[in-house]
């Protein structure tokens, strides 16, 4: 479904992503982990079309991606952002946020679709006409997920979708994402610095360090500690220590 070959992204003199290659099958999930500044979010932004200054080869469903994307691309590929406090327009109600993709793509039947989307992400119908500041962090992230699903995409790019939420809400949102993937046959690419979160959702994980993907490892191997690269081992040790602490 998605294939990325030798992706390079440059910010001025700094090469933030240095030749990343991976592939994700249809209906599957791929996780990217790494420390802050390892280039993992940059990969996602290049894939989503938000950052047009990249080189390399990326295809989604067999079509090669260009720096400027078509409207059809945005219908098929959507993204959920890290910070649910920053990814919703502060002056727009949930209703408005959800109807925007429908209006842009000329999809009709707005009223029914919004009600359905709200129930799909387990938000009460009463939340429909609320402003973001009237919702909790978890509810906002559900709205952001619902908005990403409005145009019925095939690919969902998840940029640390749970890291701004507290632990109990994290689990809810992760389970929601897993449910949605089952129901809609979505393909996920998920970026996180939390190994447990990634391993929960993604059978394959890529570990990034300094703009390079240093290891590709299956979630099982990761859990069992069968790592090959020292950085993966470091990350794993850190996260288990954190959990025990």
């Amino acid at each position: 479904m998605i294939s990325v070959q030798d992706l390079r992204v440059r910010f001025g003199p700094v090469e933030a992503v240095r030749g990343v290659t991976f592939a994700v099958g249809e209906g599957s999930s791929f996780g990217i982990v790494g420390e802050s500044g390892s280039g993992k979010s940059t990969v996602l932004r290049a894939l989503s079309g938000l950052n047009p200054d990249w080189s390399g080869r990326m295809t989604i469903a067999g079509t090669a991606l260009t720096p400027k994307r078509s409207r059809d691309f945005f219908r098929r590929v959507q993204m959920v952002f890290q910070d649910p406090y920053g990814s919703l327009h502060p002056r727009q109600t949930v209703d408005r946020a959800l109807s925007e993709p429908l209006l842009v793509h000329g999809i009709g039947d707005i009223d029914r679709r919004i009600r359905q989307a709200l129930s799909e992400v387990a938000l009460p119908a009463a939340a429909r006409f609320r402003y973001p500041h009237q919702l909790s962090g978890g509810q906002r992230q559900r709205v952001a997920i619902a908005r990403a699903l409005m145009s019925e995409p095939e690919v969902l790019l998840l940029d640390e979708p749970t890291s701004a939420l507290d632990v109990s809400v994290q689990a809810e949102v992760l389970n929601l994402l897993a449910d949605l993937q089952d129901r809609r046959k979505l393909t996920y690419v998920m970026v996180s610095h939390n190994l447990a979160v990634v391993a929960h959702l993604c059978p394959m994980v890529g570990v990034m360090q300094g703009g390079e993907m240093v290891e590709m490892i299956s979630a099982e191997d990761l859990r069992a500690g069968r790592t090959r690269h020292p950085h993966t081992a470091d990350l794993r040790r850190l996260s288990t220590e954190l959990e025990e602490a």
Binding site: L50, M79, D83
Partner: protein, 300 residues
């Protein structure tokens, strides 16, 4: 409509329609605003002034241009509430009709300037690059002109009158709004919620109009209200210098100008339009301050 519009409807935590949510938000802003007595004072005065100007024909006790030379420069009395001017015209009535000219000029300037500044600023800020450079250098050029002098030169070059005064003030008043809107846009354009709209595939025009501009509007309204006093002063200055409204049209600035000869002996004649200018400027300043507390997102 069966649902009654009252406090519970407005403050509902679960609005049932977009309109209810929007009105609820506005009502909350209004509640914040109402808690500020100075700002409320400014609002009340501004509304009274605008209403007085609108209903001048009903409120005036005399024809503003009717002369009564036997009774010139009269002190305020029951017949002439605020006295008469050098041609025996009733000052109270002239003040009301003068409000139409002065406030009318201010409102026309704002109507011309605010959308222009908003559009230039949002486009420059959103697109960046050469569009930003071009638009902002043009803005800088206009910003470099001293306002009153450019207005004077412009009015003198065309012909003195209300229309040319409005155009002249507008020409020099828009650059600060463009800068303000650009600064706001720069802080908005890289946020995740704008990125999310871009990912829906929306066109730039749609993003600017529906997502960026509404967020710039709050601080723009505040700035416009605070600027109204300086626009009033500029309009009155032009009138005072004989470059704005022409006699016999009663404009506050030109009323002071024609009465300034009597400043020592019949001081109330120039003083009264002066007080009107002062009160109007003060009211808009107080209103602007109150609006800033409520609308400026950086304050909350």
């Amino acid at each position: 409509m069966s649902a009654s519009i009252d406090r519970t409807w407005l403050l509902s935590e679960a609005p049932a329609s977009r309109a209810q949510a929007a009105w609820g938000r506005r009502y909350r802003l209004w509640c914040d605003f109402r808690a500020n007595p100075l700002a409320m004072g400014g609002l009340v005065i501004a509304v009274v002034l605008v209403l007085a100007a609108l209903f001048a024909p009903l409120l005036a006790t005399y024809d503003p241009s009717a002369q009564e030379l036997a009774n010139r420069l009269a002190t305020p009395s029951a017949a002439h509430w605020l006295g008469t001017d050098e041609l025996g015209r009733d000052v109270y009535s002239r003040l009301l009709f003068g409000g139409r000219v002065t406030l009318g000029m201010v409102i026309s300037v704002v109507v011309l300037v605010a959308p222009l500044g908003l559009a230039v600023g949002c486009v420059a800020g959103y697109f960046g690059g050469w569009a930003d450079t071009l638009l902002m250098r043009v803005t800088d050029v206009f910003l470099a002109f001293p306002r009153l002098i450019l207005a004077l030169a412009f009015v003198a070059a065309i012909h003195p009158g209300v229309t040319s005064a409005v155009i002249a003030i507008a020409l020099t008043a828009w650059p600060p709004y463009a800068r303000l809107a650009r600064a706001e846009t720069l802080s908005i354009r890289n946020t995740d919620f704008i990125a999310a709209v871009r990912l829906t595939g929306a066109s730039s025009v749609r993003i600017i109009l529906r997502h960026v501009a509404p967020l710039c509007l709050g601080s723009l309204i505040v700035r416009v209200t605070l600027d109204m006093s300086s626009i009033i002063l500029t309009a009155a200055s032009l009138g005072f210098l004989g470059m704005g409204a022409q006699p016999p049209s009663p404009e506050w600035g030109s009323m002071i100008a024609t009465a300034r000869r009597f400043f020592l002996d019949q001081w109330w004649v120039p003083l009264i339009p002066g007080i009107a200018i002062f009160v109007a400027s003060l009211a808009f300043n107080l209103l602007g301050d109150g609006l800033r507390d409520v609308l400026d997102p950086k304050q909350r």
